[in-house]
């Protein structure tokens, strides 16, 4: 039985790398670059893991992460972004819903430890 992961990442190269990382760890992946690609099925299933970027969809970065957490059912949430200012990092790591926060440059091995 595959575990399922949803990857939301604007940077195509990072998206593909993360996708591969998850696949080598026995996840089946759905990867998207914008929220517009989400569909009704995504809302019906429960993902084991969401790896989300912080996208600028007209709301504050922190709200974006929380909204993702609310819209899509999941067991654990990791944030991987290139918008990793210190302020955002502090705010996000305060919240208990987020299992990990990575801003570029980051070590993929650290993510690997989280998902293994």
């Amino acid at each position: 039985m595959f575990k399922t992961a949803l990857i939301i990442q604007e940077d195509l190269i990072l998206l593909r790398i993360l996708e591969r990382l998850m696949r080598t760890h026995g996840y089946s992946c759905r990867s998207i670059r914008t929220l517009a690609e989400l569909n009704i099925e995504d809302q019906e299933r429960v993902y084991d893991l969401i790896i989300s970027d912080i996208l600028f969809e007209g709301i504050a970065p922190l709200d974006f992460v929380f909204q993702i957490g609310e819209i899509i059912m999941h067991k654990s949430l990791i944030v991987v972004t290139n918008m990793g200012q210190e302020k955002v990092r502090q705010q996000i790591s305060k919240s208990r819903n987020v299992a990990g926060f990575f801003s570029i440059p980051f070590d993929l091995d650290d993510i690997q430890k989280l998902i293994a």
Binding site: I13, L14, I17, E19, R23, T24, I104, P105, L108
Partner: protein
């Protein structure tokens, strides 16, 4: 006569209009095509790198095939735009990763085209192409080209020089302190910050003997750079070096010393040196800043020092001292000082 002349004008204008339309149309088509082509390059680059980093069981990375793919996408020497785009993608990817994967990417990028594209930029006469070439070389960790970069570290152009110096730091780490402080040209603030950041990112383990060698340089940017390094790496043992510059005759060097010392707390002997140097600083604003730092950084109120300050010449300094004493509960001393300013005669006059 007049009507035919108008017709000619009209025709010319129409011609211009149609020409404009054609140009706009061409540019639209070209842009669309170009964007699509870029997306194609990005997508296959993403596929190749991700496959290289995390190979699924049963898959194989074939370098010759990768080269063939890139050639098929038009990444050739005759097409510099595509080559540049690929290089930008490589740098972007490498900047986002650290650790084991960074090294792996380095190995990959050595083996795929564009070969020597960055190195050939160094021969350009334009500074921005040269600087870009240097940046590409160090961002992608192509250490084999370091000799070509060393000669650029004293280039007349600030930007070329800056990139070459950063490249030195990236490749040589603390070793680069052997000559960074002894360069001929000055080093701007931005350059110093970049150098310190790179050093901290790539070589987090400080090498004190090499740092201390740099103390010998008497160039102003060198001492500033060293002070910033001490601050960034929180080298408690080297605080004395910063202390030395607190009463330096040069305003800017004092400014940097004051900025850097604020990251440290002083131990007993250093406090004595600090107090001695404090009175030799010729700028009041700097003294006030230092006083605030000294107060927040010491556990006990050094009454003797503050009393000495209350009786020193400068009014602004007196005010700050009084403020500190008042806030720390020594209201009586401040009051005494305040009334002491007026001798008994003037008070009587005022009362009467």
């Amino acid at each position: 006569m007049e009507i035919s002349f108008l017709f000619v004008v009209l025709k010319v204008l129409l011609g211009v209009l149609i020409l404009l339309w054609i140009i706009i149309g061409y540019s639209l088509v070209y842009r669309k095509h170009r964007t699509r082509h870029r997306e194609k390059i990005e997508s296959s680059f993403a596929d190749i790198t991700s496959k290289y980093l995390y190979t699924l069981p049963g898959e194989e990375v074939n370098l010759i095939e990768i080269q063939r793919t890139f050639r098929g996408l038009g990444i050739k020497r005759s097409n510099p735009k595509n080559v540049q785009y690929l290089i930008d993608l490589m740098i972007r990817t490498q900047r986002s990763l650290m650790g084991r994967n960074y090294k792996q990417l380095e190995t990959l990028f050595k083996q795929i085209p564009p070969f020597r594209a960055s190195l050939s930029k160094l021969n350009s006469t334009e500074w921005y192409i040269k600087a870009r070439g240097i940046r590409e070389i160090y961002e992608m960790g192509q250490k084999q080209h370091i000799n070509a970069l060393i000669s650029e570290r004293n280039n007349n152009n600030t930007y070329v020089r800056r990139e070459a110096q950063i490249a030195m730091v990236v490749f040589l780490g603390w070793e680069s302190l052997r000559f960074l402080p002894f360069l001929k040209m000055e080093m701007t603030l931005w350059q110093q910050i970049k150098v310190v950041e790179k050093l901290h990112d790539l070589y987090p383990e400080p090498d004190l003997p090499l740092l201390r060698k740099a103390y010998e340089s008497d160039r102003f940017y060198a001492s500033e750079l060293v002070m910033r390094i001490i601050r960034k790496f929180r080298l408690e043992s080297e605080v004395d070096y910063i202390l030395n510059f607190l009463d330096h005759p040069d305003h800017d060097r004092r400014e940097v010393a004051i900025y850097c010392i604020q990251s440290f707390s002083l131990i007993n002997g250093q406090q004595q040196v600090f107090k001695k140097k404090f009175f030799r600083i010729p700028n009041t604003q700097q003294q006030v800043n230092l006083l605030k730092y000294f107060h927040t950084n010491s556990f006990q109120i050094d009454l003797e020092f503050y009393k000495k300050l209350l009786n020193s010449g400068n009014e602004i300094l007196k005010l700050s001292t009084a403020e500190i004493l008042w806030d720390s509960g020594y209201i009586k001393i401040v009051e005494e000082f305040y009334y002491g300013q007026y001798n008994s005669e003037t008070i009587e006059e005022n009362v009467l």
